[in-house]
Amino acid sequence: MKPKVGIFDFASCEGCELQIVNLEEDVVGLVSAVDVVSFREAMKEHSDDYDIAIVEGSITRQSDEARLKNIRENAKIVVALGACACIGGINALKNTKDLDEVMKIVYGDKADWFETYPARPIDAVVKVDYYVPGCPIDRTEFLGVVKSLLLGKEPEIPNYPLCVECKLAENQCVFEKDMFCLGPVTRAGCNARCPSSGSDCVGCRGLVDNPNKEAQKEVLEKFGLTVDDVLARFTLFGSYQEVNDK
């Protein structure tokens, strides 16, 4: 029996689901190994009978919690897909603001027609078994996680900083270019994609376990960069943690 898979989304840009489609010919292989029973963005059919639930997006309003809890009840394994689901991601930027004010700015005097609350990763609402980090996810890493699950193995997501991959890619250190980089504290696994493209790491994959943020600040000060700017960088994808750690 092929394992049954459901793919679901909450508040997000749906760019991570798009990465699944972007596997191109590999999708053809993938759907021969599993039975996709629910994937609203790609198919009309829907079933509540699935073994693995893959969930993209953050939870940003009370009324979405029931849908997520229902998915958790139906699935044996829940996989969080992408930064929004794993760490709250860019949605949580609004958590640093006064939400009533935010509602008024967008909807004016119609603000009370709609509901919202601080954005959170899905594991703030239900138990999550595995995480595929990133904004967007790395397609190869996603395929690796799915293959592991099909083989009954534990998927391996790196727990070392991005700098390791950046060194292997033989990139010039971003700090030496007088730019910020969150590489020293960010979870590796993307092959240091942004520094390898002439840019800096913005921390979309979240922090490694036990990151040494203080050391990062020291490094930045050494290069004449301010702590305020660095903290602003952390909040780009990590506002949920920044606000909740306070």
């Binding site: 909450f10 508040a11 997000s12 840009c13 749906e14 760019g15 991570c16 689901e17 798009l18 990465q19 489609v21 972007n22 191109e24 010919e25 999708v27 053809v28 759907v31 021969s32 996709v36 994937f39 609203r40 963005e41 790609a42 198919m43 009309k44 059919e45 829907h46 940003t60 309003r61 979405d64 991601g89 860019i90 949605n91 930027l93 609004k94 603001k97 935010v102 509602m103 700015i105 967008v106 909807y107 004016g108 119609k110 027609w113 709609f114 919202t116 954005a119 904004c135 967007p136 994609r193 942004c194 493209s197 002439g198 840019s199 913005v202 602003a232 780009l236």
Partner: protein
């Protein structure tokens, strides 16, 4: 009209980006309710950009949409450049146009082949087609891959591009890779012709429904406008891009977390068909040929033909990409250092995203911190037109079986290729 009762409630319409519902309630042949509802969770990008610096605006606003992240990125950079009075180099503009064609192709192939084609072949998704139409599916994945590889090559990533930055690029594509990509475009054109033949053989499955509306698109005398141009309306002439508020009148409705827009009439249309109607004469020769083959003639007032216009634009984007690569290779790629002089000011950027006319409008303080931002999303502009089409279409199909009515209404919404998460992620900020 027969006395009929119909009750249709499509909760979370499938094969569209984001969350929307269709409701139709008919008693004794009289329509009591006919509604396109947007129920997407709003994400409040206004709160996200408030107080953020100029060099983060592209990174943040790219995340409004996973499918059109390149359009959001480019228009964001254009708004910031307009605010700072920066004119990017010719090389930067050529590379951005190339990247933009990659997204246009990717997005259109996704919509026409993965989201619309299953309806024309009477199945619920592309998955059963892997068995029944394997060759066609492989061709689709090949063209989709081609588009994504172009985005990768120029933007550093297929989604949420990395290399694009204010006044330039952080990294340039390797000319050898551009050359190799150009060779593969020939195969891409052949594949697109096969797909056009397939759609032509299924053309009778597209409902024959006509409702004239106002069409709004960027326009230019020199080229089929995608990256830049003035704003043209089929009703109201042309205005410069920064005067977009003369055409776009936004309003809030209770049944939708996304704002709606109107101009001269109750609603207007943006996107591939609007662009075709306004600018068809400037399409590439190959694109014109496919339009003729598929019976697409301007002005076309059938919203179901949006998919056909997208397929025509796919050919256009591949042919234009080849031309742009030739120009880039001929001039030679030179490393440029993007210089940015930050200053206070307001800047408006416009672009044609795959789904239509898109605006980012920012105001910065003298430190380059964003004080106000406004973002006009294509799908927002189309929501009102979808509603008006549904109201016009529903009474004409009430004599059909309920399932068929439901499918036809679903196909109507799908035809617009709505990007609903985009549309509920609007930004309007006023910093205190």
């Amino acid at each position: 009209m027969k006395s009929v009762d119909v009750s249709i409630n499509v909760h979370h319409l499938t094969r569209v980006e984001g969350h929307g519902n269709i409701a139709l309630d008919v008693k004794n042949g009289e329509i009591n309710k006919c509604l396109w509802e947007v129920v997407e969770a709003p994400r409040f990008f206004e709160a996200m950009v408030r107080g953020r610096k100029w060099n983060e605006m592209q990174e943040i606003t790219s995340r409004i949409c996973g499918i059109c992240s390149i359009s959001h990125s480019l228009v964001s950079l254009k708004a910031t450049e307009a605010a700072f009075g920066i004119t990017p180099s010719e090389q930067t503009v050529l590379l951005r146009k190339l990247l933009d064609h990659g997204e246009n192709l990717q997005s259109h192939v996704l919509h026409v082949c993965y989201l619309v084609l299953p309806d024309l072949l009477g199945v619920g998704s592309v998955f059963p087609l892997i068995e029944t139409h394997k060759q066609a599916v492989l061709i689709v994945t090949r063209v989709h891959r081609l588009a994504n590889e172009l985005c990768d090559l120029v933007g550093g990533r297929t989604t949420h591009p990395i290399t694009v930055t204010v006044n330039g690029f952080t990294q340039l594509p390797d000319p050898k890779d551009l050359q190799a990509f150009r060779k593969r475009c020939e195969d891409g054109l052949a594949d697109l012709q096969t797909l056009a033949d397939l759609v032509a053989s299924l053309a009778d499955k597209l409902p024959d429904f006509v409702r004239e509306t106002e069409y709004v698109a960027l326009t230019s005398k020199e080229h089929y406008a995608l990256y830049d141009g003035d704003i043209a309306s089929s009703d109201a002439g042309t205005v410069p891009a920064d005067k977009y508020k003369e055409f776009v009148h936004e309003y809030v409705v209770r049944h939708s977390t996304a704002k709606h827009s109107k101009n001269t009439r109750d609603s207007y249309m943006v996107g591939a068909l609007a662009r075709f109607n306004v600018n068809h004469e400037l399409l590439t020769p190959g694109a014109k040929k496919v339009a003729e083959q598929l019976g697409l003639k301007a002005p076309c007032h059938n919203p179901f033909m949006i998919s056909v216009a997208q397929l025509v634009e796919c050919v256009h984007s591949v042919e234009e990409s080849m031309k742009l690569i030739d120009i880039l290779l001929d001039r030679g790629l030179k490393t440029e250092s993007p210089v940015v002089d930050v200053k206070a000011g307001r800047g408006v950027g416009v672009i044609e995203a795959p789904r239509g006319f898109l605006v980012h409008d920012y105001e910065y303080d003298r430190n380059g911190v964003c004080m106000t931002a406004n973002c006009v999303i294509p799908t927002n502009q189309n929501h009102g037109n979808i509603q008006k089409d549904m109201e016009a279409l529903a009474p004409t199909i009430l004599d059909k079986p309920e399932k068929e009515i439901e499918l036809t209404l679903e196909m109507l919404v799908r035809a617009y290729d709505p990007c609903i998460s985009c549309s509920a992620h609007l930004m309007k900020v006023r910093r205190k």
